[in-house]
């Protein structure tokens, strides 16, 4: 294990040092490990002061994405019906171990999670890791934050690497909508516990006498937000209408996602990111031959009958389907990678999370990233246009478009973000360039790992091609009004 002291080989180049002013194309460094200083006028932080903070914590070093592996994502009830979360996660980890020669290797940590999780899977990640050729002494932990789970596992292990607590790690996530937990009613559960505690036959009979036929019905996972009773799609339908996102714009985004993912498969880009499983080699939701006409023919499914939605626009084509799948990302310090001959693809620079009060209607359920991204950019003195590649998770096409519309809106940026000017618009040719969840599908906790591994590889390739550092932004919305966003950066050398 490398100690923090011996990691000084990792170059530390504080942002704001006179010799290295931050500017377009220049590498940007984490300004501060904590929350950013209050942005002056809501625009940017005091970079000089942040740099001093960094110098006071010299033990912080860089954490790098070294590669990734996932299994193809399959629509629920399809190729992976009949296999469990643990099966899927083990498959993704096995592929990663094989690809990077990690057999017998003791890593610093494996962090993973699942959103739809069986109660018995309390150590899902540990049990999955134990099923791989990794050294069984590799510790593991489970994390959970709805659809942001995968990205949060990346942030968790990269923070540990940056602090010198560990040198290497795997961040991973899995979900199976086909094998989602089905529970008993709370009444039956309590009754069974009382029955278990009853000591005599009369006591047991008296407990059983309290049972009702309705108590016996199985309880599948709820598909609505517990606090509002509305499904995610119904929530987004209101946001979509509020931002006036058109049906055509959503269908175009969905089509672009399918085309970009299909092209990524055709070009071989995904060859070292995806390993086949259970007879499938590509994501089964991918429709390379989709067209605007086909997408336009689909009937809206969300926002029907809602007084807030004059014209429903969200269809099965521009919304993500329930999906099964797993992904894993390998991360390490520069030294750890060098010792194993691995190439650092991109540095995990920083992350932010935000949450919104959707329950009392103050903001749309999936709009938290619209708040977290400006905070992250401010912390590094970056403008939205300073980002080379954007990965905005396509929960629904309308989620991406509502977020972009918010950043372009003077009113939103002034009233909600306290900024003097809009955050701005993005070059759409830099958005989800190899497709995203609309095409690949969205096994909740596996999406973060898919995006991080894909983006790191893209940034690394482009940094080499252009000879300039490349910055990438990851933005993931999550249930319960939450969102996590992260910044990655790749250097040319």
């Amino acid at each position: 294990m490398t100690s923090p002291a011996s990691s000084s080989a990792d170059p530390i180049e504080p942002l704001g040092a006179p010799a290295e002013p931050a500017g377009p194309g220049e590498p940007s460094r984490p300004a501060s490990p904590g929350r950013p200083a209050e942005p002056a006028g809501g625009i940017g932080p005091d970079e000089g002061r942040s740099a001093l903070d960094l110098r006071r914590t010299p033990e912080v070093r860089d954490a790098y994405v070294l590669g990734g592996n996932r299994i193809p994502f399959a629509r629920a009830g399809g190729a992976y019906a009949g296999v469990s979360n643990q099966d899927l996660l083990t498959a993704a980890l096995d592929g990663l171990v094989a690809r990077f020669g990690l057999q017998g290797e003791m890593l610093g940590e494996v962090a993973g999670g699942a959103v739809l999780k069986l109660a018995g899977d309390l150590n899902l990640t540990r049990e999955s890791a134990l099923g791989t050729p990794l050294d069984p002494r590799t510790p593991a932990l489970d994390l959970s934050k709805a659809c942001a789970t995968g990205l949060e596992t990346v942030m968790h292990v990269s923070n540990r690497i940056r602090l010198g607590q560990i040198d290497s790690a795997i961040a991973c996530g899995v979900d199976s909508a086909s094998d989602s937990p089905i529970e008993v009613t709370p009444r039956l559960r309590r009754l069974l516990h009382r029955l278990n505690a009853a000591r005599s036959l009369p006591q047991r009979l008296s407990v059983l006498a309290g049972a009702r036929p309705g108590d016996l019905a199985p309880v599948p996972p709820r598909n609505s937000e517990p606090r509002t009773g509305l499904s995610m799609g119904e929530h987004q339908a209101v946001t979509t209408a509020q931002w006036g996102i058109s049906r055509q714009a959503q269908d175009e985004l969905a089509l672009a996602s399918h085309r970009a993912l299909a092209a990524a498969y055709e070009s071989g880009f995904l060859d070292d990111l995806v390993t086949g499983y259970r007879g499938i080699g590509r994501d089964t939701n991918l429709r390379p031959d989709s067209s605007l006409e086909k997408l336009a023919s689909l009937k809206p499914v969300f926002g029907l009958g809602s007084p807030a939605v004059a014209e429903p626009t969200m269809t099965a084509g521009n919304s993500t389907p329930l999906t099964d799948g797993a992904s894993a990302v390998l991360l390490g310090s520069r030294d750890w990678a060098a010792a194993r001959g691995l190439t650092p693809l991109a540095r995990v620079v920083d992350a932010r999370s935000a949450a919104v009060d959707f329950a009392h209607g103050e903001e749309g359920l999936l709009m938290a990233p619209a708040y977290a991204v400006p905070e992250l950019l401010d912390a590094h003195g970056l403008a939205l246009a300073d980002i080379d590649l954007y990965e905005i998770h396509e929960a629904f096409a309308a989620t991406v478009l509502s977020t972009l519309a918010a950043w372009e809106s003077e009113d939103f940026c002034r009233d909600r973000l306290g900024r003097t000017a809009p955050l701005g618009s993005i070059d759409r040719s830099r958005l989800n360039v190899t497709g995203s969840s609309l095409a690949a599908g969205h096994p909740f906790a596996a999406t973060g790992g898919r995006i991080v591994a894909t983006l790191a590889k893209l940034l690394h390739q482009r940094a080499r091609e252009t000879g300039r550092s490349q910055r990438g932004l990851v933005s993931i919305c999550a249930a319960a009004g939450q969102g996590t966003v992260a910044l990655l950066e790749a250097d040319p050398a």
């Binding site: 709370p186 606090r227 009773g229 007084p307 329950a359 009392h360």
Partner: protein
């Protein structure tokens, strides 16, 4: 606030004496008593001057937890004010079930409820409950009066719960009917007398057309909603229990307890139970079961209050109908 203070003053023990019960009466006994024919018993034209009280009632932790869970909230150490309401409710019902009470118990309609809670109440606390009725007023559709419950501990008032009831069709208390109604009382602000009669179950305050706002949530209420609230509240009024029992009392379908909807809205308003608060409820159209209610919450951060409204969505050519408005205000 002026209005509330006035009510609190008049709710203080007046010249009438409280008759003490040994324990909180049971609902079935009250309803059975209310249904029992009483040949020769004459209904009074005035509200009874006596109060009914019960000393040292324990706020049961399990029952409070069941109440919290039914409202979709966590089981808290500080009790939901709805628990205080259901604690006192049977006592006030016993007062209203008396044979000489001016109105039959089973025709009363709960039109509004106001609770003022002066301090947080912990589960397991022992409290004293005292109930009285007051404020008989003519109304364009009958008469209204208030049932006032005081929850206290060691002589200190913890909470005052004022429930307003409408007794349809019987204009009592003040001679002169409409003229007096136009001059004073809650009916004064409303159009009275000549407007078209509302249909069965329709309540006052529904005259202006209701325009449904954008909902922030939806309740899907099963046919067992009334039975589940009856379990935690004890209020097994047949109009809430099933379509069959409701039909026996002239309702085509079972209707949800008003205080179930109000208590759930209280929980969803995310009130701070550590602070004194007021909880104002106005009921509109009944919530039929099974059924869907759309809700919307709006916060007024400066006032420290949250307003929740619930309505029946429009279906076919039937317009949306407001079912309740709930205001929860933190007091300083």
């Amino acid at each position: 606030m002026v209005e509330l203070n006035r009510r609190r003053t008049s709710a203080a023990p007046g010249p009438e004496r409280a008759r003490m019960l040994r324990e909180v009466p049971s609902f079935p006994a009250i309803y059975a008593a209310a249904l029992r024919p009483r040949p020769g018993m004459r209904r009074s034209t005035e509200l009874p001057g006596t109060a009914l009280g019960v000393s040292s009632v324990r706020i049961d932790a399990q029952r409070a937890a069941a109440f919290d869970h039914l409202m979709g909230g966590p089981a808290t150490e500080l009790v939901h004010p709805g628990v205080l309401h259901v604690l006192a409710f049977p006592v006030s019902l016993a007062l209203m079930a008396r044979g000489d009470f001016p109105f039959p118990l089973l025709g009363l309609v709960h039109t509004a409820n106001q609770m003022l809670q002066h301090r947080p109440v912990r589960v397991g606390e022992l409290v004293d409950v005292e109930c009285r009725t007051r404020g008989l007023r003519p109304h364009r559709r009958g008469s209204t009066f208030e049932a006032v419950s005081t929850i206290s501990s060691g002589g200190e008032i913890i909470a005052t719960d004022v429930s307003t009831y409408l007794a349809k069709g019987r204009r009592s208390g003040t001679p002169g009917g409409d003229a007096a109604s136009a001059a004073a009382g809650p009916g004064a602000a409303r159009p009275s007398g000549t407007s078209p009669a509302a249909g069965p179950g329709e309540e006052p305050g529904e005259r202006a057309p209701f325009t449904a706002p954008i909902p922030t949530g939806r309740w899907r209420l099963g046919a067992d909603t009334g039975r589940r609230y009856a379990e935690v509240s004890g209020d097994a009024n047949p109009i809430h229990m099933s379509a069959l029992s409701a039909r026996a009392f002239g309702f085509p379908r079972a209707i949800a307890h008003g205080m179930y909807t109000a208590s759930r809205a209280f929980t969803e308003s995310r009130a701070d139970l550590t602070r004194p608060l007021r909880w104002d409820v106005e009921f509109g159209a009944p919530v039929t079961l099974p059924g869907t209610v759309l809700v919307r919450y709006e916060e007024d951060r400066e006032a420290g209050s949250t307003r929740g409204i619930g309505w029946r969505p429009a279906t076919g050519d039937r317009p949306a109908r407001r079912c309740f408005t709930v205001d929860v205000t933190a007091l300083r």
